[in-house]
Amino acid sequence: MKWFPTVASEWALQWEYHNLYLHFWIAFFTVVIFLGVFWFAVKYRRRSEDEQPRPILGSNIAEIVWTLVPLLIAMSMFAWGAALYFEYASPPENAIEVYITGKQWMWYAQHPEGQREINELHVPVGRPIKLTMTSEDVIHSFFVPVFRLKRDVIPGRYTTIWFTATKAGRYHLFCAEYCGAQHSRMGGWVYVMEPAAYEEWLSGGAAGSMAAQGEKLFAQFGCASCHLSGQQGRCPNLTNVFGNRVELSGGATVVADATYIRESILNPAAKVVAGFQNIMPSFQGQVSEQNLLQLIAFIRSLSSAGSLGVPAGEAGGIGQRPPATPARVDRRTQGRPRQP
């Protein structure tokens, strides 16, 4: 029986400090109230049946003090919690990206290099990892207690989560949002590996990178006949689209991120590019979420813009591997104490 859960990410350590602060005040006020009630109950116990204690109507000073002091403490809690949350919602740009699909009752992961896993996730120590997640069916929630991290995985949209693991080991992965009969079995393991072991694992046989698999799908679904051939005029050419602004018919513009590409495949009429008619059929129900991620990875590989231009906190580019820079030079993690 462990009383303190393992701390295995940089964020988890920050979380622990914050939680300690919160629980210091919880303990403090609990003790104050318990001692107050206990002390008064003993000291002012009824000694004879005809006692008539002098009425006290109240105290404005006391009301002000016990309104303002807790309010100030609560605001300090809010500020720290919000700062932590901003970090949680802001993945660094040099993060290794992994793509997660939740499905009753399994977790699928795919690495940009093409490796696929079920109910397992392999990541290296010391590098920021960004997960881009979606669901094939109902809402799930990706929860790794040793990282103190969780985020709901929602059908029809991409959510992200990121962490820098600090301690090699095998850790629980849970689904935290109730998702049906076998909710409690929808879990697995996160393997945090030393970088060398991770590189070795990563080189183990995959059937081509995500982008390459996406390229095959692109041909298989007949996308290539319009979107890459010379028939300009009927369909927008997808070279250098990802990560850039796209002008829509009607005058609005949108950044061509993963969410936009996904929507354009499933519901082409939603946002039509300026100068084109919507003649594309919908692929709703024909492409799995995993295949969509591969298609997006391929479209991203056609663009030099990468994930630039994608707002922080949103699901950004799909399927590219950033240069292998160590976590310490990342601006967000610079100078952060590393978990021993």
Binding site: W15, F40, Y44, E177, G180
Partner: protein, 548 residues
């Protein structure tokens, strides 16, 4: 509260006094009654029945969790058990508990009225409640429902193949009972106060009931229509929430929590109202900071409407929306803190007796304090990322709902039992039961805080072995808690026939229900309309009050 009769007192009666219970004994007289006191008893019997059902479902859950493997129930059976526990306890016990029983019984008497403003609507409220309850229960007995009481989409609207539509129709109907009761209370407090019963003299129980009623009237329609949309999406496949049909699954969460967070205050505010009455009576003191507490009751009701998003910090809502909901959630902690401080200060220099209702008051203040404070890590955007959807949340809201509301309900039931039934309960057994409840409760739910911190997700049928020790402790505590709930049932039933007759005011308490009517009260509460001449809780009235 001393009263001045407007007319000369009636001539002394020679026959045995007729009260609301003895006026007629036929079943028909109960089922067609418009007397708020009898309707309160109808609700009391009904919600006690639902409490037993919800408790049975909880028993199944706790038995299953003794072992990590998930071997007692099937996974489906377990999911149906915790769903039944949540639905029954929240919609058919906690929400009606104090308002529909103690509130129905006491609110008119406390303000010096002969009944609620709309007595027949009050009876209608009970019938609607029962019809909704029977429909929801029939869904459970036909096969059950496995969505959790939260009905998150698209699981509930597309994927669950259980009795979701029938259940939500039952809840839709039960919601109208809540709305009608709230409406009745609001109109009654505005229009039927006795002469001299100004807003500043209202017992704080009435303030709490009034604030609760505002929430019931304003928020319940939202959940009613939301649940109906789930049923429509299931049956007609019109897309509101399922993205495959063009809907938004998170929209459901916004609509659901827009009701269900204020509903938390429907559940706890009346309990706070009860504590005001108990802490003053058994400290024999004026309440400390009457205006502050009254304002805090209303502030909770108002602020409670603007914090629903704290249920969705990890659900993909924008970080800026998250910040607004987080800061408002921290703000809503303050009125609760003010009340706890004022109750504690009321005991200062008092004359404190340890009668059973006061033991429940001690328990309430302590457990509500822990329950309230452990809401702070859930209000913090950062801390909630880990705690959300773990047992920490389960422990937190059970400290509020059971440690707070159920203890206040039991305290209030003991306090007003002599008034409602005309009988005294055995004090020794009652004190013993209060102690058993306190010990059993803490043993049940404190380990769940630790489970949540260690990362145990909620709604898990099977779990990793390292969590077993804490789960076994929790289940052991639950069995003690069950004993603590059974003992009062036995002695309350015993007291109905064999308890010593209660005098009109056994506690020496202030308030019209104690000072202006008999135990049990007569059919229309008062022989003559009372006139109120003094503030609430005017204990030790001959001594000069001080302001410290």
């Amino acid at each position: 509260m001393s009263t001045v009769p407007v007319a000369p007192p009636p001539p002394p009666r020679t026959a045995a006094p007729v009260n609301y219970l003895s006026v007629s004994h036929s079943v028909r007289s109960w089922l067609l009654t418009a007397d708020h006191k009898r309707i309160a008893i109808l609700f009391l019997v009904s919600i006690s029945f639902f409490f037993v059902l919800g408790g049975f479902a909880a028993t199944l859950v706790r038995l299953e969790l003794v072992t990590p493997r998930g071997d007692l129930l099937s996974d489906d059976g377990y999911n149906k058990a915790f769903t039944a526990h949540g639905i029954v306890m929240i919609f058919f016990f906690l929400i009606p508990s104090i308002p529909a029983t103690l509130g129905n019984f006491l609110l008119p008497i406390m303000i010096g009225a002969r009944d609620l403003a709309f007595p027949k609507v009050n009876l209608l409220s009970w019938y609607i409640f029962m019809i909704g309850g029977v429909i929801a229960l029939s869904a459970m007995f036909l096969g059950g429902v496995d969505t959790g009481w939260t009905f998150y989409t698209p699981y509930s609207s597309t994927y669950s193949n259980q009795w979701v539509s029938l259940t939500v129709i039952g809840l839709f109907l039960a919601g109208f009972s809540s709305i009608l009761t709230g409406l009745n209370f609001i109109v009654t407090v505005h229009t039927m106060r006795a002469p001299g019963m100004t807003w500043h003299r209202l017992p704080l129980f009435v303030w709490a009931a009034y604030a609760t009623s505002l929430i019931q009237v304003l928020a319940t329609p939202v959940v009613a229509i939301t649940l109906l949309l789930v049923a429509v999406e299931r049956t007609l496949r019109i897309g509101f929430f399922d993205p495959a049909l063009g809907g938004d699954p998170v929209l459901f969460q916004h609509l659901f929590w827009f009701y269900s967070h204020p509903a938390v205050y429907i559940m706890i505010l009346p309990g706070m109202g009860v504590i005001n009455e108990l802490v003053t009576c058994f400290s024999r003191k004026r309440i400390f900071g009457y205006e502050a507490i009254a304002a805090a009751h209303v502030a909770l009701a108002v602020l409670g409407f603007f914090v629903w998003g704290h249920h969705m910090f990890v659900s993909g809502q924008s970080i800026y929306a998250g910040m607004v909901f987080s800061i408002l959630t921290f703000a809503v902690a303050i009125p609760s803190a003010i009340k706890v401080f004022n109750w504690t200060a009321t005991m200062f220099r008092g004359s404190i007796s340890y009668d059973t209702p006061m033991l429940y008051t001690f328990g309430f203040i302590g457990l509500f304090t822990i329950g309230g404070l452990t809401g702070l890590p859930l209000a913090s955007l950062g801390a909630d990322v880990h705690f959300s959807d773990t047992y920490f949340v389960v422990a937190h809201f059970h400290y509020i709902m059971v440690g707070g509301m159920v203890l206040a309900y039991l305290g209030g039931l003991h306090f007003w039992w002599p008034k409602m039934t005309g009988r005294l309960y055995p004090e020794g057994w009652a004190k013993f039961a209060a102690l058993v409840v306190f010990v059993g409760f803490n043993l049940t739910f404190f380990p769940q805080f630790l489970l949540g911190y260690l990362g145990m997700p909620r709604r898990y049928h099977a779990y990793p072995e390292e969590f077993q020790v804490l789960h076994v402790l929790s289940s052991a505590g639950a069995s003690i808690l069950a004993v603590g709930f059974i003992i009062p049932v036995v002695y309350f039933l015993w007291s109905l026939r064999s308890g010593p007759p209660a005098p009109a005011n056994p506690w020496g308490a202030k308030g019209l229900e104690w000072e202006a009517t008999a135990s049990p009260p007569v059919t229309e509460n008062f022989a003559d309309t009372p006139v109120v001449t003094e503030p609430a809780y005017n204990y030790a009235s001959e001594r000069e009050p001080e302001i410290v």
